[in-house]
Symmetry: C2
Subunit: 137 residues, 2 copies
C-alpha cells in the first residue's frame, strides 16, 4: 500500500493533482488508513500512469475518461479508442501547422528589427500594422 506521496513520486504526478483526478472521477476513491489517509494499490498506480501518459500525449481529461471507460470493456470493438487517438492526432497536426506559420512570422519580424530605438523597431511596427505580415493568421 502506497501513501499519496509514494504514488506521486512513482508516477511523477503531483500530490494535489492526484487528489484533483480523484475529484474529477478519473481514479476511484482509494482505501483509507485508520487516520483517514489515502492508501493506494498497484492497480491504482497503473490507472494513474495511464492517465499521466494520456496527459503527456496531450489528451484532455474527457478523452482519458472515455478511454478508461472503454478499457473496462475488453470485449467491445476498439473503434472508439482508435477514433479518439486519430482525432487527437489530427488536432496535433493542425496545431503544428499553426505554430509553424507563427514561427515563420516571428522570424521575419525579429530578423527585420535592426532599429536602435522603438520609433523604428520592426517588432512594434509589425504588431501595429498587419499589412506588414506575409501570411494570414
Amino acid at each position: 500500500m502506497l501513501t499519496i506521496g509514494d504514488l506521486s513520486r512513482r508516477t511523477g504526478v503531483k500530490v494535489p493533482t492526484i487528489r484533483y483526478y480523484e475529484q474529477m472521477g478519473l481514479i476511484s476513491e482509494p482505501e483509507r488508513s485508520e487516520g483517514n489517509q489515502r492508501r493506494y494499490s498497484k492497480t491504482d498506480m497503473e490507472r494513474l500512469a495511464f492517465i499521466r501518459h494520456g496527459r503527456d500525449l496531450g489528451l484532455t481529461i474527457d478523452a482519458i475518461r472515455e478511454l478508461i471507460s472503454l478499457s473496462q470493456h475488453p470485449d467491445r470493438p476498439c473503434a472508439g479508442a482508435d477514433r479518439i487517438a486519430k482525432e487527437h492526432l489530427e488536432d496535433v497536426r493542425i496545431k503544428i501547422a499553426q505554430l509553424k506559420r507563427l514561427e515563420h512570422e516571428l522570424e521575419r519580424i525579429v530578423s527585420h528589427c535592426d532599429g536602435h530605438s522603438i520609433e523604428d523597431c520592426y517588432v512594434i511596427r509589425a504588431l501595429s500594422d498587419h499589412g506588414l505580415c506575409e501570411g494570414e493568421h
Copy 2:
C-alpha cells in the same frame, strides 16, 4: 466614434473580450455616450488591432502590455521589444518540437492498432504501458 459592436466587427475581437481587455488595463477606458455606452476613436481601434495581432502571434497579455508601454516611448532603445519577440520565438520553437514528438508517437500508436476489440487495442495498450513508447515524453 464607434460603438463597441462596430469596433468588434472591425477588429474581429469579440465584444466581451474588448471589455475584458479594458478591465486588464490593455486599453484605456473610452469615452461614453450620454447613455453611458462606450464610444471608441480610431486610436482605440489601432490599439486593439495591435493587441489582437499580438494575441494571434501567441503573445501573452503581459508581453503585450509590456510592448504597449515600450511603444509609448519612441525614443528608448528597442532591445526590450526585440527580446520579447525573440523569447517568444524560442517558446514557439520548443512547442513545435514537442508537438512533433507527440505526432510521431500518436502516428505509431494509431497505425499499430489493427485489433478489433479493446482487449488487444494498441491505443489502450500503449497508454497502459509506457514501455511501448519510442521516445521519452
